[in-house]
Subunit: 268 residues, 3 copies
């Protein structure tokens, strides 16, 4: 009988220019050398809980059941904020209780949130500045060795959760959203989904304009290469959100627009 | 009997600031949890097929036989461009049919290029914007589970291939090349090889000058530390090309020259 | 009997924009496909031996015993500088003999430094520009297959080591240190430890000022979130050094100070 190795993913705002991610991996491997460590993203914007919430929410479902996801965006490290072990739809999450798992909670049908209190799993002495190393990584390691979740602490109901920015219907013709992220290609991911503006996603969409920064976008495309070179257009992005993109170019640069910019959709 | 785990490498222009690479890894692991995932490079210049072609061509031969190499630089995602499964000299490649494997084709002695048509391996629904996740990753996963290549689709002969920029012999004394890449150290990798200018690589090379930007390089060194601090010189780089480098410094910065710059070699 | 896979870590100044790290991993896997490859850091400042020395010294102890650590910051590649295989406190290190392991040597209680001379382990032909690929990676691969250290070469005593910058006691009230690193969050890691200024780390520290750049820092905090937004303060960092940090902000940016800046601690 060969049992598959446990998988632990890592999502952090640590960046890759320091040794911090490597140290956490060392701690996990020191607890369980037979684990597969997979980076989801370490370039979450520093201290940005919503950015971290999006990264993990868009990624975790693609992993096998029982994957353990460490999500360490932790500006409150060393304070009273609690460490959590979350079971959600047959995935595990280890993260600080600061809302960084909010979008996981929002999608989960089966959810248990535990306050990790079993300090005998921690790396001693526990620092006040790097719980990723001293608390979260060793807990991930022990969980990957099939220690049962209930051994880490009791369920809680008052965990912190926030809501992602929601589109606002100003009137029958105007919907206002926001740019949530800009990706490497300069695509602007908005908080608008097909459910918010179903008209845009019909086969023959009505005339519309999307106002972003000082520009108007009036075309929607099915794929990037349908755009003329340099043309900026709307498209359904791979995470299920309306995106403003360009073919072989950066919409963010062309429109001089970034994260947090307002996006107005006008059906004309 | 312990069979070695399959290896899947990833070469993309996705960068590391988003969750895209992590998502692809999740999909592969969800198909085959017993696979080793190795990043070759995710910083291929966005949409730059030649840059991607160089990254994979310079790396794949160092991996064990039967390694599966995913190469996703895919500006035509969602269009009619075909997904490919390529067998070349006992390595496998999974990539879009846009020429990004051209330099693999050029070196392969034993080559079979298949058009992947077996859509039952794909992740449903297939998006029009992220075939790395929906088509290429699951196919890599199934291939890593030893599904036979012929199960994915039939061989084709009209796959797209391009030629890398070739040096031009202007006259007996002047050869013109180009800077193909600038690496992290600021070394300028040209498209010139010892076969193009064998004189430079003899034990006592004749007098020469290499004109790059507004500067002339007149020395060739065997290793970096032979250069004086700040001196810019020619050297045989580790990928087999003539490079313009500096000892503990950046030739690109010193010469104010980048990718695409012309390189003239004059034997005086 | 299932034997755990060997672990090889990588710490380099190669960056992630090229294929160099991927190539080294291919070479290791080609020697031993059953190895786990873990990145510690590839963003060591180019050619900066002290920066590399800190990265590996702060990380290696967290890994399991018998981990093999490749540390490739190698401006002297191709010259007469020797390749080393080091055994230190039940960890292995493979690195050039240029001092990049100095801080490992400084901490090791049990130390053997070998000059790797067994060239039959090397990848032929050995280039003069990429020993990471041609010498260090294959040696790491063979060592991970449990080839005994003594097979690689004989112990030496004249290996190169340097001392990290030490704090200077100017007088009873003034201690001078230096900023060794700036991390992703903009925290300034100094070379001062609690042993150098024990007063700061008592429960009721005396009045003090830390002079960095043109600013004075007069508070010490137990964790980041104790600081007011924008406030710059001192804190005991996770690697055991005094750091100058900010809560959800960058001390480096706020103080306009970087690596190498002088840090004066004045007890008033």
């Amino acid at each position: 009988l060969i049992v598959a190795r446990s998988i632990v993913t890592l999502t952090t705002d640590f960046g890759l220019s320091d040794h911090y991610v490597g140290v956490m991996k060392g701690v996990i491997l020191n607890t369980n050398p037979e684990v597969d460590l997979i980076d989801i993203c370490h370039e979450v914007r520093p201290y940005d809980l919503l950015d971290g919430a999006f990264a993990i929410a868009h990624a975790y479902r693609y992993f096998p059941p029982r994957t353990i996801h460490m999500v360490i965006v932790d500006p409150g490290v060393g304070s009273a904020r609690r460490p959590l072990l979350v079971s959600a739809d047959n995935h595990y999450f280890i993260a600080p209780d600061n809302g960084v798992l909010s979008l996981v909670y929002a999608r989960a049908e089966d959810l248990t949130v535990r306050h990790i209190t079993s300090s005998h799993y921690f790396l001693e002495p526990v620092s006040q500045t790097f719980h990723g190393r001293d608390i979260f990584a060793p807990c991930a390691g022990w969980l990957s060795r099939h220690v049962e979740p209930e051994k880490f602490g009791d369920p809680i109901a008052d965990f912190i959760r926030f809501t992602a920015p929601q589109p606002k219907k100003v009137n029958d013709r105007l919907l206002k959203g926001v740019v949530l992220r800009v990706d490497r290609y300069g695509s602007l991911m908005t908080n608008l989904t097909p459910a918010d503006v179903p008209e845009l996603f019909t086969e023959n969409p009505p005339a519309f304009k999307i106002i972003v920064g000082k520009s108007e976008v009036t075309r929607i495309k099915g794929n990037y290469s349908q755009g003329a070179p340099g043309e900026v257009f709307a498209i359904l992005g791979s995470s299920g959100y309306l995106e403003i993109s360009a073919n072989r170019g950066s919409a963010a640069q062309t429109l001089a627009v970034g994260k947090g910019a307002e996006v107005g959709v006008v059906l004309t």
